[in-house]
């Protein structure tokens, strides 16, 4: 038996291809939306992977350092380092801010890292150009997504930094590229006040009789000095010694240091389940809406194509064609339209939309397979209306009268 659907498509291929292309652009947007969600998850995982940590020690009862603010003393790491199972510890600060370079500024996640080298928790694990930070101040390593170049001078707060290294895929959970600077600089940048604010604070402190006691010389100066230094970091990153379980070490830190500790799995759950949950829901809603719109378009197109063939369908029924054959003709055309649309959509998402989209778009092969199955299912469902209309056609219409 010849394929009636195939013959009809070949006969009117232009109509099918152009309709498929229109549908394909819509499918391309749908695939891109899924890619944006995957990209967000991937960014979150990249942030965790690149930190090189097995445990995150943060302020008690907070979801820090990525999903909530967290402040702990910068000497806590020493105590944590002494707990069995801990191989390495490192302070870290995170501050999302605009970093100025010449006339332009870029939104980045400024990360303060302790002295060390590649492999130290918090440090970029690899560079694509230049070198790691070797000085205690005013050097920076930037992600290439910032479009900074080696030797560029950056302004963070009042200080200037020189880009000495470039890295890749170091991004925050929201996709902002990271800039690594020495920890002390980052601590200063987090709490740095302007001159007027410092003067105001000194005046208020001096007016407080509790701090300004003539009988205790040097007290006021000590209080003012302590107000102008920052002894906090956002988290302590911990690497485990071989043979230790993350949960077991985390329990020890919780018990003895009264701090909140997250394992890699828990941190991933916070990032994906809480931090990007709203965005994920928005994307899911868009996916549902786009799927419904795609289904409606396929249904409308197939219905219109079927109505245009009512006379032929009546003739086919009159000459004894089974309902199954007629339903197959319509359903196969709907599926063919979906496949044309999917191919166009996949190509447009991969070659057109993903490269120019300002966020990381990750098109997973499995998502494409799921997308293809979903498109075919939607096309089958959408063709049911047209099939119903075709099966209602009275063969007597071919006879007329």
């Amino acid at each position: 038996m010849i394929s009636l659907a195939g013959r009809d498509i070949m006969h009117a291929w232009g109509k099918f291809v152009f309709t498929g292309m229109g549908l394909g652009l819509l499918i391309g947007v749908t695939l891109s939306m899924a890619g944006i969600y995957r990209g967000m998850v991937d960014d979150g995982k990249a942030l965790l992977d690149n930190s090189g940590a097995d445990l995150w020690v943060v302020q008690k009862d907070t979801l820090g350092p990525y999903a909530e603010p967290s402040s702990i003393y910068d000497d806590v790491w020493r105590a944590i380092r002494g707990i069995p199972g801990v191989a390495r510890t490192a302070n870290v600060t995170y501050l999302t801010m605009q970093v100025r370079q010449g006339e332009r500024d870029v939104r980045t996640l400024v990360t303060g890292v302790t002295a060390g080298g590649a492999g130290t928790p918090g440090w970029p694990p690899y560079l694509v150009a230049g070198r790691q930070i070797t000085r205690g101040h005013y050097e920076a390593v930037a992600d290439i997504a910032t479009h900074f170049k080696l030797g560029d001078r950056l302004q963070i707060r009042r200080n200037h930094y020189t880009v000495v290294g470039l890295t890749r895929r170091m991004v925050s959970s929201s996709g902002d590229p990271m800039i690594f600077i020495p920890l002390k600089d980052a601590q200063e940048a987090q709490f740095l006040k302007d001159n007027d604010a410092i003067r105001q604070q000194r005046r208020r402190t001096a007016e407080n009789p509790a701090f300004n006691r003539p009988q205790v010389p040097g007290l006021l100066d000590s209080v003012i000095a302590s107000q102008n230094t920052n002894q906090y970091v956002n988290a302590v990153l911990v690497q485990l010694a071989p043979g230790y379980q993350a949960t077991e070490v985390a329990d020890s830190i919780r018990r003895w240091k009264r701090l909140t500790v997250y394992t890699r799995n828990q941190m991933e759950e916070i990032l994906i389940g809480k931090l990007i949950a709203t965005s994920a829901k928005q994307i899911a809603m868009f996916l549902v809406i786009l799927s419904i719109v795609s289904a409606a378009i396929v249904a409308f197109i197939i219905y219109t194509l079927t109505l245009g063939k009512i006379r032929e369908i009546a003739v086919l029924k009159l000459i004894g064609t089974k309902n199954r054959t007629i339903a197959g003709l319509i359903m196969q055309q709907a599926i063919a339209l979906g496949i044309i649309g999917f191919v166009v959509g996949k190509i447009s998402a991969t070659l057109l939309m993903a490269p120019i989209f300002p966020k990381h778009v990750l098109l997973e092969p499995l998502d494409s397979v799921i997308g293809l199955v979903a498109v075919i299912l939607i096309c089958i469902l959408a063709s049911l209306i047209a099939i119903r209309a075709a099966l209602k056609v009275d063969p007597a219409e071919a006879i007329g009268g």
């Binding site: 086919l316 009159l318 000459i319 004894g320 007597a396």
Partner: protein
């Protein structure tokens, strides 16, 4: 295969119920022998289309008896179970407009019927080409319907009606869109095919050009048929 041709006895068809009921056919009697071509003539609203639909097994008569070939189709309320297969295998249709499937070429338009009946593609195409040859359109076998003239399309439609060698062919105004010469050519073709395949053919028409060619004519008026001897003029 040819069997008894067409045998219709006391065929009635009523639409609706109660006060609004309309009797479209009030008692139709028709006999067409295998190899014979008869005309069915009647004014608009006479019940012609209803009769054609009953003959085509598209609608069910209210009562009466209808035999096509060797098969009793209806007999006072009883009917053949699979009317779709009956239409495919036992009845050939030729319409006023050819109604060819626009996305199939000439050969496949004709071969589609045997394919639907389960005949292999190659065998169905072979049968189709033989018929197209006998109707003198084999040169257009690969053409699409839109590329054919009106006369060629009608010949292809006749080939489609004949391809399953049905015992009965129903031709509904087959010459309406054609000029005299082509109309007579179509009737000649139908006569030739009827003789060759022992097929009983009913041609519904009000085309004055072809009515004199029938040896027998059935007139239908107010749902009742009347038989009349035709001129049976020779078509040259």
């Amino acid at each position: 295969m040819a069997g008894k041709g067409i045998h219709i006895e006391g065929l009635k068809k009523r639409y609706g119920k109660g006060d609004t009921a309309v009797d479209a056919l009030k008692g139709v009697n028709i006999q067409v022998a295998p190899g014979e071509v008869v005309g069915l003539v009647g004014p608009s609203g006479s019940g012609k289309s209803t009769l054609l639909k009953c003959l085509g097994a598209v609608i069910e008569p209210t009562s009466g008896r209808m035999v096509l070939g060797n098969d009793t189709i209806y007999n006072d309320g009883w009917k053949v179970r699979d009317l779709r297969a009956l239409r495919r295998d036992k009845i050939g249709f030729v319409f006023q407009a050819p109604y060819l499937i626009p996305f199939l070429d000439v050969t496949d338009n004709v071969a589609l019927l045997p394919m639907l009946a389960g005949v292999s593609n190659s065998e169905a195409r072979k049968r189709a080409l033989e018929l197209l040859q006998s109707l003198d359109v084999e040169a257009r076998a690969k053409a699409m319907p839109a590329q054919l003239s009106g006369g060629e399309q009608q010949r292809v439609a006749i080939a489609r009606g004949l391809v399953n060698r049905p015992p009965v062919i129903l031709a509904d105004e087959p010459t309406a869109p054609l000029d005299s010469e082509r109309a007579l050519a179509v009737i000649r073709m139908l006569n030739d095919m009827a003789r060759r395949f022992e097929t009983a053919i009913i041609v519904v028409t009000h085309d004055e050009k072809i009515i004199p060619t029938f040896k027998r004519i059935y007139h239908i008026r107010d749902g009742v048929t009347y038989e009349e001897a035709g001129e049976g003029r020779e078509i040259l």
